[in-house]
Amino acid sequence: MSDEIIIIGAGQAAAQAVQSLRAEGFEGPIRLFGDEPYAPYQRPPLSKKFLAGEIGYDRVELKAPDFYAASGVATHFSTRVTEIDRRNKRILTGDGQEFPYGKLLIATGSRVREINVPGFDLEGVHYLRNIDDVTSIQAHFKPGAKMVVVGGGYIGLEVAAVAAKRGIDVTVLETADRVMARVVDPIVSHFYERVHREEGVKIETGVTVAGFEGETKVEAVVSGEGGRYACDLVVVGIGILPNTELAAEAGLKVENGIAVDELCRTSDPDICAAGDCTSHPNGIYGARLRLESVHNAIEQGKTAAATLAGHEKPYNQVPWFWSDQYDLKLQIVGLSTGYTQAVVRGDPAAGRSFAVFYLKDGVLIAVDAINRAPEFMMAKMLTAKRAKLDPARIADESIGVKEIAG
């Protein structure tokens, strides 16, 4: 019987798991598969400093190049795993090989949601998920170029911000009636729309994309509302989908993401899963969550590694996220879904610094902090404690952040 741990996927969760497996005392062989040609790297900078050209590959790669070999990890990059054969405890790869496993970690991450309209395959229509995506977008980054961003979420708006700084003429098209509609209150959406407009980006909401026009290369985006937006370049950022297919085909339980428990175990005791591809039961929110974040990938990577090494390190944390656009640092604690009251601290209509506290029946469930580190740090603590807060104290800036809970 093999004692090898195989990790499918080579992203943030996988890199963390390798490190944590060794830290947890697992001394057996580890084998890592990734379908990209690169060793695990950080994705968040791809739509920020890496896209802007401020940092290169060496500063997004997660580990030193010799880390994997030094940690006794056999790596198979540019290799896609095509099947998990649970009966025989082996995995099959796209190049026809098979590898037996003792235990398995699925860390397959997520992929971009694709846009299925006429002209989707024209040259110049890009997504942003991988290093190679960024490299091909950068090739079009010339001052004066016209760019249309499809989707006003984090990725779309971060790309818009970087491009605007480079002198590119940017238009963002968003289907909903406001940007970031899925994740923040209208107060925050309208604030971001104002800032982007101040920075020269055109934001059009309530616009659906009907198709892309051009001979071989995209020349315009046509909207369902009859608009036509001439462009040299399109970046589509309309969300991601968890890579659950391998798990589902192997008969593992999938509930929005690959279903895991608080120890990152799937419905097969020999198989764990971690990161974007999973959904987990979160005790703080009393719900099964699928999270798209680095924090989740890192923490689940640690938990899965502990479980695989025979220890228990339950994962039950308040999620957090961040987004950098222009001089704005947005830090989000928690999930605001189902909030009953949004309380603002600071003035979103003027300046560039405020926070929104989301309460559900008086209990703090989330905070959006824009250039407000104190509120962010305090909120991390208060959300985990399910603190009941007085809205009047939140809104009163004469009361210090540390005293906000009374």
Binding site: Q19, R22, A23, Q42, P44, P45, K48, R59, V60, E61, L62, K63, A64, F67, S71, V294, H295, I298, W320, W322, D324, K329, Q331, A373, P374, M377, M378, M381, V401, K402
Partner: protein, 106 residues
């Protein structure tokens, strides 16, 4: 290049060569030094790369910017000599520096 020694809470030492222009957090994460998490990858957004800097090295560091200052003010294990290692850029002046890590970053 600067030789930096990272001392874990239990006293275990890790000495790394940190390339000029890169941060102490990056080097620690790449070398898997336990005790430096660096969840946000250096965006000064998470305060999970805190270190304690001894007095003799403190003055060689550029002062904290507002963001770092406030993140530290609210970080659970912070002390007066805390810095975020993602904001410390290596250079010859820091060669030989020793920093200590907190019990936990969370």
């Amino acid at each position: 290049m600067a030789k930096i020694t990272y001392i874990e809470h239990d006293g275990k030492e890790h000495t790394l060569d940190v390339a000029d222009g890169t941060t102490l957090m990056e080097a620690a994460v790449k070398a898997s030094v336990p005790g430096i998490d660096g969840d946000c990858g250096g965006a000064c957004a998470c305060a999970t790369c805190m270190v304690f800097v001894p007095q003799e090295w403190w003055d060689k560091l550029p002062p904290k910017e507002d963001m770092e200052e406030t993140m530290l003010e609210f970080a659970e294990y912070a002390e007066a000599n805390s810095r975020l290692s993602c904001q410390i850029v290596a250079g010859p002046a820091l060669d030989g520096m020793k920093v200590r890590m907190p019990e936990s970053q969370h």
